[in-house]
């Protein structure tokens, strides 16, 4: 292996790693606030990529129908639960929040589809279109069991993944799509060229994770999220509503997934099920971060990207084996380093 090759592989790994980084942040965010390992995260990213591809070919993305259906179901669920609790006064607000709000990006998508518009409009529409998906499915499937054990939540989230990827197949068909490049041209650094797309991916990862950092450190919303992550009961005692923070976490993660979709779609062919692999590799990164630490997750994501890239050079067929076996030393190290508590007591807040 020459230095040239190592450099190309390293840059390719960084580009992949920055995608895993964003996905890893989303996974850690959702897990720390809700204790859900959100497996369908990658599917949402794939929906955003495939919606963008649909816009580009002048078609209506089928995602619109999905979002509208989910919004209708969530509104019904919300209204029913309000009536049951005897809080009928909250119904208009529920309809506005669960029914009308998610319908807005659908209206936008419906308006821009099939028109000749600047590419950036399509990107924006694709991202906005997938933003309601995560909060809506979470409202329908995960919020009713929010206090169940982590294992039950994991199983529910796995089931959601199968549902969403099945719908993806129905909507977008088995063949993949690739979208127009976001950034043309390339940058030459010391006689070595880096494509604009790669710079954009790495740049977006840096900017978005920076924004995340600021949001967590400086804003009340971010602090509420952190508080819920640290202790749900404690957060409740100081007036933070876990359902509200969970909703926020899902929405933030959904925005991240939307970005991931439009960032990877020009660099790789996206299929209805390629989100799962992105999610799985981001999960490896999140495990390296112990599912709590954002900086460690970011490092882990870059490590996964680079190991993947070099692994594909050494043995294309065994690449994924190499990536996933990263978990073994990490888990051994983590297990050796932590003190094992007697018996983990689940905090149940009813």
């Amino acid at each position: 292996m020459t230095w040239d090759v190592a450099l190309i592989l390293g840059i390719d790994g960084m580009a992949n790693g920055s995608v895993y980084l964003l996905a890893g942040l989303g996974l850690v965010l959702i897990f720390s606030v809700t204790r859900v390992v959100f497996v369908p995260f990658g599917d949402v990213a794939a929906f955003s990529a495939l919606s963008l591809a649909a816009f580009e070919t002048g078609k209506q993305p089928a995602t619109i129908g999905l979002v509208l259906t989910l919004a209708a179901l969530a509104t019904i669920a919300e209204v029913v639960s309000l009536v049951r609790r005897g809080e009928a006064a909250g119904i208009p607000k529920a309809i506005l929040g669960w029914g009308v709000l998610p319908a807005l990006p659908c209206a936008l998508a419906w308006l821009v589809a099939g028109r000749q518009l600047p590419h950036v409009v399509f990107i924006l529409a694709a991202i906005l279109l997938v933003v309601p998906i995560t909060p809506l499915v979470a409202r329908l499937a995960l919020q009713p069991i929010a206090d169940a054990s982590t294992l039950v939540l994991l199983i529910a989230s796995l089931a959601l993944h199968f549902l969403l990827s099945g719908l993806g197949l129905l909507f977008f068909g088995p063949e993949g799509s690739r979208t127009a490049p976001l950034a043309e041209g390339s940058l030459s650094i010391g006689g070595f060229s880096v494509s604009g797309q790669v710079l954009l991916m790495v740049g977006a990862a840096i900017v978005l994770s920076g924004l995340f950092f600021l949001a967590f450190e400086r804003t009340a919303v971010g602090k509420a999220l952190r508080a819920t992550a640290v202790n749900r009961v404690g957060a409740r005692l100081v007036g933070i509503r876990p359902a509200r923070t969970a909703l926020l976490a899902y929405t933030f993660a959904s925005v991240l997934a939307g970005f991931i979709g439009v960032l990877v779609a020009p660099a790789t062919t996206m299929y209805y099920d390629s989100g799962f692999l992105i999610g799985l590799k981001a999960f490896v990164a999140a495990i390296i971060g112990g599912l709590v630490s954002y900086p460690l997750t970011a490092l882990g994501a870059l490590a996964v990207g680079i190991v993947e890239s070099f692994g594909s050079f050494w043995s294309g067929a065994l690449k994924d084996v190499i990536v996933f076996s990263l978990l073994i030393p990490v888990l051994m190290l983590r297990s050796a380093m932590t003190k094992h508590p007697e018996e983990e007591v689940e905090e149940i807040d009813q």
Partner: protein, 387 residues
């Protein structure tokens, strides 16, 4: 309407009106199990449409009507096997045909052998022993296709070729065929790089290929994932010729591959470029008929190779059924007829289909020769025949 056909109509309606009229001859029954849903449905749906067109093209064989029964196997081998059993035991079909995917086709072949029913496979298939007695396939063997590619490489004076393909059975099949063909042609295969269908990037593999400075590259992918090596090779500045195989004949491959896939040369059945074939080409006339009848039945033009395999499968069946009925006087729907039909299929001589000319013999699954392949080149998003 003339008097004769009016009387015929009256007779048929009478026969139907009286239920199963004693004098009425039994229909021929064709059972088709394909993937109308699930990941293989992009193949299964055209298979089914092609079969509808075929039955419309030849609705009667020796005066017997043909009934087509189509079942969906959900892209699942187990369901495919169960469908085969259902078609044979409940519907009493005379022949079964199907399906996308080698494992599912093998499952059907096993049921066919067990129940002594002829099976016409529409995909490449791998079988051994007793199952061979009841099964043939209309698909071209991979070796035949890859041989044609290696022929081209030899003509272009290629000395070394790099290989990159799927890390699954399809990648192995193409690689093995490539190894066998290049050995004879004196070409050296310098890499055996693999990637998974869902992979995000093949940069590592392509860098390794470029490091070996091959004269040409051969790819062993299919459908949209097959475009990935093309795109990465173009990104990394590879200028040499790239060859592929028939798995890439797919509208989505062309769409996703775009400019990077332009100029690739792949083997395919002649139906893909039927209009461009010289007039004397054996399959040209049937191919044009197929195009017309498909357009009429499905209200859409054919764009794929799969519907054409169904059409050929049916033509092979129609030819064999006509001979079996004429020679043995057995009635459709009986075990004796199924044996006669099998024997007739196994002695198929020069049946002209749209993918090639079929000659089957016992113990050999495949029945096509050099007439079943042409080399095409991708130019401006269209496949062009390379003579």
């Amino acid at each position: 309407m003339n008097a004769l056909s009016r009387r015929a109509l009256l007779a048929t309606s009478l026969a139907f009106g009286l239920g199963a009229g004693a004098a009425q001859a039994a229909d021929l029954k064709v059972g088709l199990s394909v993937s109308l849903s699930g990941p293989n449905s992009s193949l299964g749906v055209p298979y089914s449409k092609g079969m509808q067109a075929a039955v419309a093209y030849k609705p009667e064989i020796n005066g017997r009507k043909v009934q087509l029964i189509v079942l969906d196997d959900n892209s699942d081998p187990t369901t495919a096997g169960r469908n085969a059993r259902k078609l044979i035991e409940e519907e009493k079909v005379d022949v079964i045909m199907g399906t996308s995917g080698v494992p599912a086709a093998i499952a059907m072949a096993q049921v066919a052998a067990e129940t002594s029913t002829p099976f016409i496979g529409l995909t490449p298939i791998a079988l051994k022993g007793k199952e061979l007695d009841w099964t043939v396939t209309v698909a071209q063997p991979t070796q035949l296709m890859v041989d044609a590619v290696v022929d081209r490489m030899k003509k272009a004076n290629t000395k070394t070729v790099a290989y990159i393909g799927f890390s699954d059975a399809w990648g192995d099949l193409v690689y093995d065929a490539l190894m066998q063909a290049t050995q004879k042609a004196g070409i050296k295969v310098v890499t055996n790089e693999r990637y998974a269908r869902a992979d995000q990037s093949v940069t590592g593999q392509v860098l390794k290929i470029i490091a070996t400075h091959p004269d040409a590259v051969m790819t062993g992918g299919a459908g949209t994932p097959g475009a990935l090596p093309y795109i990465t090779l173009a990104e990394r500045g590879y200028k040499g010729p790239i060859y592929g195989q028939h798995g890439l004949i797919n509208a989505d491959f062309v769409r996703v591959g775009g400019q990077a896939a332009a100029g690739t040369q792949v083997p395919t059945g002649p139906i893909i470029v039927a209009e461009q074939l010289p007039d004397g080409y054996p399959t040209k006339k049937v191919s044009m008929d197929f195009r017309n009848v498909f357009q009429k039945v499905n209200n859409a033009p054919t764009t794929d190779a799969f519907s054409a395999y169904s059409f050929d499968g049916y033509l092979v069946f129609a030819d064999a059924a006509a001979r079996a009925m004429a020679a043995t006087k057995t009635e459709p729907g009986t075990p004796a007829f199924r044996v006669a039909l099998r024997d007739a299929i196994m002695t198929t001589k020069e049946v002209v289909g749209v993918h090639g000319v079929y000659n089957f013999k016992k113990g050999d699954l495949y029945g096509v020769d050099e007439r079943a392949r042409v080399i095409v080149k991708l130019e401006n998003g269209q496949w062009k025949l390379v003579p």
